[in-house]
Amino acid sequence: MQADVAVIGSGPAGLVAAIEANRSGANNVLVLEREEELGGILKQCIHNGFGLEQFKKDYTGPEYAERLIQDLGKTGVRCFLNTMVTGVLPDRTITAVNSENGVFQIESKSIVLAMGCRERARGSIGIPGTRPAGVLTAGTAQRLVNIEGYLPGKEVVILGSGDIGLIMARRLTLEGARVNGVYEIMNYPGGLKRNIVQCLNDFNIPLYLSHTVTEIRGRERVEGVVVSKVDEKMQPIGGSEKFIQCDTLLLSVGLIPENELSKGAGVELSRSTNGPVTAETMETSVPGIFSCGNVSTVFDLVDYVAQTGMSAGRNAAGFAAGAWKENGASVEVIPGENVRVVFPQRYCFRDDLILYIRPAKPVERPVTIGVSPVEMYVKRLYARPNEMIRVKVAREKLKKITGPIEVSITER
């Protein structure tokens, strides 16, 4: 099978990339999706707040997905559902499998990686104790409640204050469970401020910062957890332990970009994002292989995911049409003072540079985001690790750059 652009994954990034590749002139665009429906995680994110920037509407996840799926339906892009991609090679050959075609190969002129991310589970954080039923990730609980119609428990403790955990605190409360509290190991919340307000405060659910779960108890089913305060090095403080009776522990302790296929394709991965090292065109280190959305770096907002999908789709269509063959000259984009993550990691002089910046530490005072050496300074009232900062640097400003671009956050 041949394709101009093959998109792997049909969450928001993949859908937008496929639509945009088609709009940019690619005739033969394919979408490969392992589930039986398009839309990815949007289908279970039934809350609102999607597409405010892109469509100027306050959609829920399923509404946002359906709008994109309708747009995709008008394009003639072919979608393969129930289709698992098992391998991607650097020469842009994809191996996939489904029950209709069996194992088959696609030779594509360009590829967009849009596999999204997965949740960190109990194994990634190492909580001591027994291994009973009732310990699950917030996203798993979200699927059980919102799609399959099961309530995973009645007395719930949530570890981690990521957005999905906060959203699930409200969701489980509305469905009749009691959420005893949200415990966050850091001294600042992981999720968006608005979710603290409308998911926790609205329902009087307490948030305990600088706390973690230090033991899980129960044989067949969770019977309770021990929570402890932690010090500034995130070590549990002896004597601060408290037992909380519950039947369920939800984990909302971070997301990891899903890059098994990227590794097989020889794509260089970044140690700071755990996603591909990407240029502003969303091209990875392998020419013709692009990546976008949460497979690249974990974004807070679907609007940002869509923006990277748009760039990946447009540029993948350009590569497929022969606009360039090899990665041209590029400079590095590197994190400076108080920056934990900066995305993309390379600039190759083709597009405007849209920077996504995650601060390393919270600063509750006015800050300046500096982009050196272009002498660009953007002011913000604060910088917080749970709120990615987006800064656009116009292409014209970057024409004469020779060395690396460094991004920093400093107090004013």
């Binding site: 429906e37 968006l192 401020k193 609205d202």
Partner: protein
């Protein structure tokens, strides 16, 4: 009358502006920290009657999935959220349902309607067979 100081986090959009507001007779004398004009509207509404969009699910028969996601078509008073959930618990709904289709009119006397947030087709034969297989495997 004295000036009262209050702190709000606007939940209108994901930016979540945190504002310090000075109030006199429930009107805003000054506001600091907002990035757009919608925050003022939000603060005045919070003082009068906090309003929220309710998003939840309802059981649906004959569809691919057990649950249909729904929402209120406009914000409703926060104090009515649990009452609205209660009214949705017993409803009888069958696939197919189209996106934006009204499920319940005037939920909890709020004046807002509950609408479907996705299209839910009838469950196909293949889907039924798969579910039977899943059930017997489990």
């Amino acid at each position: 009358m004295d000036i009262e100081k209050k702190h709000f986090t606007c939940v209108t959009c994901p930016v979540g502006c945190e504002v310090d507001v000075e109030l006199q007779n429930s009107s805003i004398v000054s506001m600091k920290g907002n990035k757009c004009d919608k925050v003022k509207e939000f603060v005045l509404q919070e003082l009068k009657e906090p309003m929220r969009v309710l998003t939840t699910t309802v059981r649906i028969e004959g569809a691919k999935w057990a649950m249909l996601p729904v929402r209120t078509d406009k914000p409703i008073p926060k104090r009515l959220l649990l009452q609205a959930i209660g009214e949705l618990a017993g409803i009888d709904l069958k696939a197919p349902v189209h996106i934006s289709e009204m499920i319940i009119r005037d939920i909890a006397g709020s004046g807002a309607n509950i609408v479907a947030t996705r299209t839910m087709d009838l469950r196909s034969e293949a889907g039924r067979a798969r579910q039977r297989n899943d059930a017997s495997a489990g």
